[in-house]
Amino acid sequence: MSTTAIPTNTKWWNGGRSPFNASYGKVMMWYFLMSDAFTFGAFLISYGTLRFSQNHWVDPNHVFNSFPFAGHADLPLAFVSIMTFILIISSVTMVMAVHKGHQMDQKGVEKYMLWTIVGGAAFLGCQAWEWTHLLTGEHAVLVNGQIEHWNTTVSHNPFGPEVMFNGQEVATPGPIAFGSYFFEITGFHGFHVLSGVVINIIMYIKTKMGHFQQRGHYEMIEKAGLYWHFVDLVWVFVFLCFYLI
């Protein structure tokens, strides 16, 4: 095959067919999500490195054992499992919205987008409760031979190793990295959920106004869906690293 001169101003992504049989926007959404996966991965791996370097780490089942309106009942994993199921269900409604979009069913897309938005808002509400509970719940800590009452913040960790003091077990200050990493990573994820909800609301409004019906396809719903599923995917690993192990 002889070398052929390539015409100038060749628009590779415009001139025939996509090498991936996917539109430019969708491919770029995938690449954005890949870079975001590395950001989250770097956060979680840095958390893992610090956790591995400590002789004592916080027992998640002791820290996250409360439930709204349940008082001081010891319910490890209960609240966070509800948050996890909320996110799984909202992922299912999103995939149904994309499916209805393929069928050009405007009413179906509207219905499932609305349920996805509700799921995202419910998750954010749960996270707000969890943060408030950690930031305001006081725990006895032995500091300089005296009992103090600490909240869990980015600079205070009242869940260190327990020692005997005046005949009772009392916790000492734990590694402050726990609060910093917890609030950093769940906050970064929560911000993704928030922006996902905003994107979904915009997509809902555009669907309602019939923009996609006029355009002839619902690919924007697919792209918003990719982002929303990614948020769910990240939660799988945040849930794993902070609550399960």
């Binding site: 539109s23 490890p76 994993l77 799984i88 499916h99 200050p173 590694p175 799988v236």
Partner: protein, 145 residues
Amino acid sequence: MSEHLVLSSPEITYAAPHKDNAVKRFMNVTIVLSVITLIELCFGFGLAKHWFGHNSSTILFIKGVICILSLAKAYYIVSIFMHLGDEIRNMIMTIVVPLCLFIWFITAFLWDGNSWKNLRNTNAGSRKAPIEQTAPAAKESGTKE
């Protein structure tokens, strides 16, 4: 409607025919994800209640099982919900191959963390007299131990 192929862009030369059982497929994945999550929660609850004893290698094994279950969930979400499994092979590879960097990333950094702990406990061999490992008494509130 099932035969109607929506091409969202002129760059796309064909659309995968929609399987009539798509909804059923999504429901099956939902069930799989829920069941895996429930199994993970059982293991997590077991760790909380010390069902697996206090042997650190047994606990590490259980935690490894939970990690593998989470990877299975990730596979189902990406492959079915995000439809990556329905894309063409080149597209899948441009996403999956770069993510292999995580194999090195996780191994190297957790190894480093562990080595850091060993140095912390031995003071990198520079400690003159052995100091008993007691629970750290913090100097001031808010300072790192």
